[in-house]
């Protein structure tokens, strides 16, 4: 067992961080916002945390907290102008946001190290912290799902007009979702900063957008387990065999095309739906026998 963990230690941490980003992507979509800002928000969290510790000597938990708060704040700020826009246009605007963050990261090299990277960040975070952060995130997202805000999110995602006809403020909840997405992305960005030694602006670019989206699409957009399962599958598959690792991106591409065409709800949600229908059918059959 301990061997297993030394070999797969790195992969497991990648999975925990990936799950975090996937959940950040998931939570905005849960409230019906098509944002891809997660990558940019993670970048802000990571650089904020790393800079505070390497340049100002802040203790790393405080830096990570600051990164989380800055991510939250950025998410909330983004949500204000974006409330006016509809689906695809929200996606393009947040894509622009991610590109701006990358470009600014590359440009302001005195602060961020630019393309050479922000170096010599102490390695202070490991599996324990990642796991704790992921569990806390999952708890909050499950709590939302089980209470009032979750019902509002669900209503907005499915039909904004219905939601507002019942007193649900679309703007408020979408801002809230943006804030949560920023908090989660900022938190995991901050954690990542303290386990990679060097940060590059391009780590949080188009590639991370695609990764986070594909985790969520594969796993499912409704239940909290969806993005986590999606992340696990997409990270483990390339480890299974060498060719899959060489063509990792093509593999992601094929999976994205197949899932959206044949299983648009994703693996977990489709599975849950199947189980529920079977249970209902069994119940109905039992009732008709009586």
């Amino acid at each position: 067992m301990s061997d297993f963990f030394t070999v797969y230690h790195h992969l497991f941490n990648t999975f925990l961080l990936g799950s975090g980003y996937a959940l950040s992507q998931w939570v905005v979509m849960r409230a019906g916002v098509f944002s891809v800002a997660t990558a940019g928000l993670a970048s802000i969290g990571a650089y904020c945390a790393a800079i505070l510790t390497t340049k100002l000597g802040w203790p790393h938990p405080l830096s990570i907290l600051a990164g989380t708060l800055l991510g939250t704040l950025t998410g909330l700020l983004l949500s204000v102008p974006l409330a006016r826009l509809r689906g695809v246009f929200q996606a393009i605007a947040t894509l622009a946001f991610v590109q701006i963050v990358v470009a600014v990261g590359l440009f302001s090299d005195s602060l961020t190290g630019g393309a050479i990277g922000l170096n010599a960040i102490p390695i202070l975070v490991g599996t324990k912290e990642n796991l704790l952060a992921l569990l806390c995130t999952i708890y909050v997202l499950l709590a939302i799902g089980a209470t009032r805000v979750g019902r509002a999110f669900e209503a907005i995602r499915q039909d904004e007009a219905v939601a507002s006809s019942l007193g649900v403020s679309v703007t408020f909840h979408q801002s809230l979702a943006f804030g949560l997405s920023g908090a989660i992305a900022g938190l995991f960005g901050g954690l990542e900063a303290f386990q990679t030694f060097t940060l590059f602006p391009n780590t949080y670019g188009f590639g991370l957008i695609v990764a986070a989206l594909s985790y969520v699409v594969l796993g499912g957009r409704r239940s909290v387990a969806g993005p986590i399962v999606g992340t696990a599958i997409l990270l483990i598959l390339p480890e299974v065999s060498r060719p899959l690792a060489d063509y990792r991106n093509a593999l992601y591409g094929v999976i994205m095309m197949l899932v959206i065409a044949f299983m648009p709800r994703g693996i977990v949600d489709t599975g849950l739906l199947y189980l529920r229908r079977r249970r209902l059918a069994a119940k109905a059959a039992a009732e008709s026998r009586q």
Partner: protein
């Protein structure tokens, strides 16, 4: 209970007037009808009242509150619920979840309590689930509780939408063609429910183009044609009004 008072309301799309200079009143404890041929502007008027569309001219008051410029979710919070002409359910959600979102307006749970999953928030959710189950029972829909709303038969979907509107415990309910596509028996059953609501003090505004249904059910009827109010009065007055007959039969 409050009355809805609409004064001189107009709505222009570009240069075209969809509704012009409409005056009407929907008192509590009565069933008020709004009829008119297709394209008369009935649904536009509903959208103006509920804040989905903005009013070009005129004012809308609900009780003492001016709701002319108020956005949709705040109109709902003021106590006005609606159903939609083409049923709009949360198709992927279960029937009981569709009803539970109706309670949203009166929920006590705060946002932080919900985010942290506090005991109070979970307790309220459980209580609402019980209430939703009772409502399902009243409408004879208990056995569909866990089914996806989008998969229900048409008549059942209508009932879910009705339950959702009632769950929000409104002071005024706007029903946009609630019996469209139903046979007379089913329509009659729903009509009884509407009367019951009015008896309990709720204001009911019934939008229909089925004249017969409206005249048997309503206390007072307004007739809209090409965006203008062409008649109003008791059902007997309306069916004998020459302007109404012309509007319906064509000149």
């Amino acid at each position: 209970m409050s009355a809805l008072v609409i004064k001189g309301v107009s709505k222009h799309f570009g240069g075209v007037a969809a509704v012009s200079d409409v005056n009407m009143e929907v008192p509590p404890g009565k069933v008020t009808g709004l009829i008119g041929p297709n394209g008369a502007g009935k649904t536009t008027l509903i959208n103006l009242i509920t804040g989905v569309l903005t009013v070009s001219e005129g004012s809308i008051h609900f009780g003492a509150q001016d709701i002319t410029e108020v956005p949709a979710y705040k109109v709902a919070r003021a106590g006005i619920s609606r159903t939609f002409q083409n049923i709009r359910l949360l198709a992927e959600a279960s029937v009981i979840d569709n009803v539970m979102i109706g309670f949203y307006r009166n929920e006590k749970t705060t946002t932080p309590a919900s985010l942290l999953g506090l005991h109070s928030a979970r307790r309220e959710t459980a209580a609402l689930r019980d209430r939703a189950n009772k409502l399902l029972e009243r409408f004879g829909m208990s056995k569909f509780a866990d089914q996806e709303a989008g998969g229900l038969a048409y008549g059942h979907q209508r009932r879910v939408e009705m339950m959702r509107a009632l769950a929000s415990d409104p002071a005024l309910i706007l029903l946009d063609e609630p019996v469209a596509g139903m046979n007379d028996v089913e329509a009659g059953e729903l009509g009884e429910i509407f009367r019951g609501l009015a008896r309990n003090g709720m204001g009911v505004l019934l939008i229909e183009h089925n004249v017969r249904f409206v005249t048997t059910l309503c206390d007072f009827v307004y007739v809209l044609d090409s965006g203008r109010m062409i008649a109003s009065g008791s059902p007997e007055q309306i069916v004998n009004d020459p302007a109404v007959i012309t509007a319906y039969l064509g000149s």
